[in-house]
């Protein structure tokens, strides 16, 4: 019996140490997506009424085509401070641009270009389109700042959504649509001047590169979506 106790007292610490080691190494390799899925379920927003199915991100991902940017399950924050998933835009053609609110040169022109495109859409069809501005400057572009930006730029938030998010999700989306950007030492950004057009499935159907371009081609492609 003594021997038995000695053996057990030897074995138990070993098991304990093994478990410790397991604990140390195993959590490193957690399924990195499970967390995101949970948040995804919690997403509520002004567009909630349009979102019928409430399911996990994995199931959601199945709904989207292989080339849909809605395969991303990142969670953003809109100008009202509400959580927002890009997939809520599904079902509508989307005009999307990445920008930052304190940009004095290119971004105001880009927004103006988007408004020019918007003005090509017949008034009765306007509710079927979405315009999205996504900030690459989450440190400075708080929801309040984005809301003010929408006000100043006279953007109708019934169809315009301004989003901010975490730096990693911003990088992922930028990489996905081919938007290049770089933070400069003065806190501003160098970036592509790029307007991206999505069909109702979230697939990129067109991209307009540059500022102050002729928008007729882009508008034609967009109008054909409806």
């Amino acid at each position: 019996m003594k021997k038995y106790i000695i053996t057990v007292s030897l074995v138990l610490p070993v098991i304990f140490i093994s478990l410790l080691i397991l604990n140390f190494t195993a959590p490193d390799k957690k399924n990195y997506e499970s967390g995101k899925g949970e948040i995804h379920n919690k997403v509520t927003s002004g567009f909630e009424k349009e979102k019928h199915s409430c399911c996990s991100s994995e199931e959601d991902a199945e709904e989207f085509s292989d080339n849909s940017i809605y395969q991303l399950n990142s969670v953003w924050t809109d100008q009202q401070g509400e959580k927002f998933s890009l997939s809520l835009l599904k079902g509508k053609p989307v005009v999307l641009t990445m920008f930052f609110a304190s940009c004095t040169y290119a971004c105001p022109v880009l927004v103006n270009d988007m408004k020019r495109i918007e003005s090509e859409i017949p008034k009765r069809d306007l509710p079927s389109y979405r315009f999205v501005l996504i900030s690459i400057d989450p440190e400075r572009d708080t929801p309040q700042k984005l809301a003010r930006y929408a006000e100043v730029k006279n953007l109708d938030t019934k169809r315009w959504t301004l989003l901010t998010g975490n730096p990693d999700d911003i990088m992922e989306l930028a990489a996905l649509i081919g938007f290049k950007y770089k933070k400069n030492s003065n806190g501003d950004f160098s970036h592509s001047n790029l307007i991206t057009f999505l069909d109702s499935n979230g697939e990129i159907i067109h991209q307009q590169i540059g500022l102050n371009q002729d928008i007729s081609e882009s508008a034609k492609i967009l109008l054909a979506q409806n």
Binding site: T7, V14, N67, I69, Q71, P167, K183, N193
Partner: protein, 261 residues
């Protein structure tokens, strides 16, 4: 019962020991201390401070990547969404879960997209290095932290060689001052912000295409390999796969997020 316990004790010890050893050798990292990186194209500042970080000693291998796709089926060759990787994704493997005879599990994994590399890094509890981190770590020579021209010649020699049919194993090329192997001479490597290269050609022309491109200029016209890497990165898209483009991971050292991320 006593016999059983007596026999099992050393076994647990041994398996615990191997577990420890296994976890350590699998992806060794070294600490790269604080330093400065001089970007090829500068804006107002010519040097960027790089905070210390841990970096994988070797690029991620086929064998390690296989373990990742085994645990994360959505990254397997037949299941991956086209938006996250083009058709060349893991094309050198036999199938979803087998490397086949032609692929060495100890060779660096290539034919992977930025998304796949990033997902692997997150799975491993790490992340991809920024351009500044990678370039800073890669600027070391064999015996000093900044190699300068000696390294340029080494890299040019590598560029001039034909790509081998079968990629050598990791660790088969030079070890640098920080203890990193294969930073040059084996494969190209993905960086986290590969899409931060905005400069090309004439500034005035670019003004309409890129905001802020006008004020940049090259800092070291002699550093031809740096131009090559710069050009290569700027030609990439996040779902591209290339047969000599792989990656390695880094991990932060309990400090605030590295600037420039």
């Amino acid at each position: 019962m006593k016999m059983f316990l007596r026999n099992i004790t050393p076994m647990i010890f041994i398996s615990g020991f191997f577990f420890l050893v296994g976890a350590q050798t699998k992806s060794k990292m070294v600490c790269i201390p604080d330093g400065y990186y001089t970007p090829l194209y500068k804006d107002s500042e010519s040097k960027i401070k790089v905070e210390s970080f841990y970096m994988d000693v070797y690029p991620v291998t086929n064998g390690q990547f296989l373990e990742f796709v085994r645990e994360n089926p959505k990254w397997q060759r037949s299941k991956i969404k086209r938006i996250f990787a083009d058709k060349g994704y893991l094309k050198h493997w036999l199938n979803d879960l087998e490397l086949g005879d032609k692929v060495d599990p100890r060779s660096p994994v290539t034919n992977i997209s930025w998304f796949a590399a990033k997902a692997y890094a997150e799975w491993a509890g790490k992340r991809l290095p920024t351009v500044a981190e990678w370039e800073y770590a890669a600027s070391a020579g064999k015996n000093k932290p900044y190699a300068g021209e000696e390294l340029i010649q080494t890299i040019l020699d590598w560029y001039s060689k034909r790509s081998p049919e079968k990629l050598p194993q990791v660790g088969s090329t030079d070890k640098n001052y920080w203890g990193l192997y294969d930073m040059h001479g084996l494969i190209w490597e993905w960086t986290y912000n590969f899409n931060s290269a905005l400069v090309a050609g004439d500034g005035s022309l670019e003004r309409n295409l890129y905001c802020g491109a006008g004020g940049s200029s090259s800092t070291d016209a002699k550093n031809y390999p740096a131009f090559m890497r710069y050009g290569f990165r700027s030609s990439l898209k996040a779902n591209y796969t290339v047969n000599n483009l792989g990656f390695r991971c880094v991990k932060k050292i309990n400090k605030n997020l590295i600037s420039g991320r």
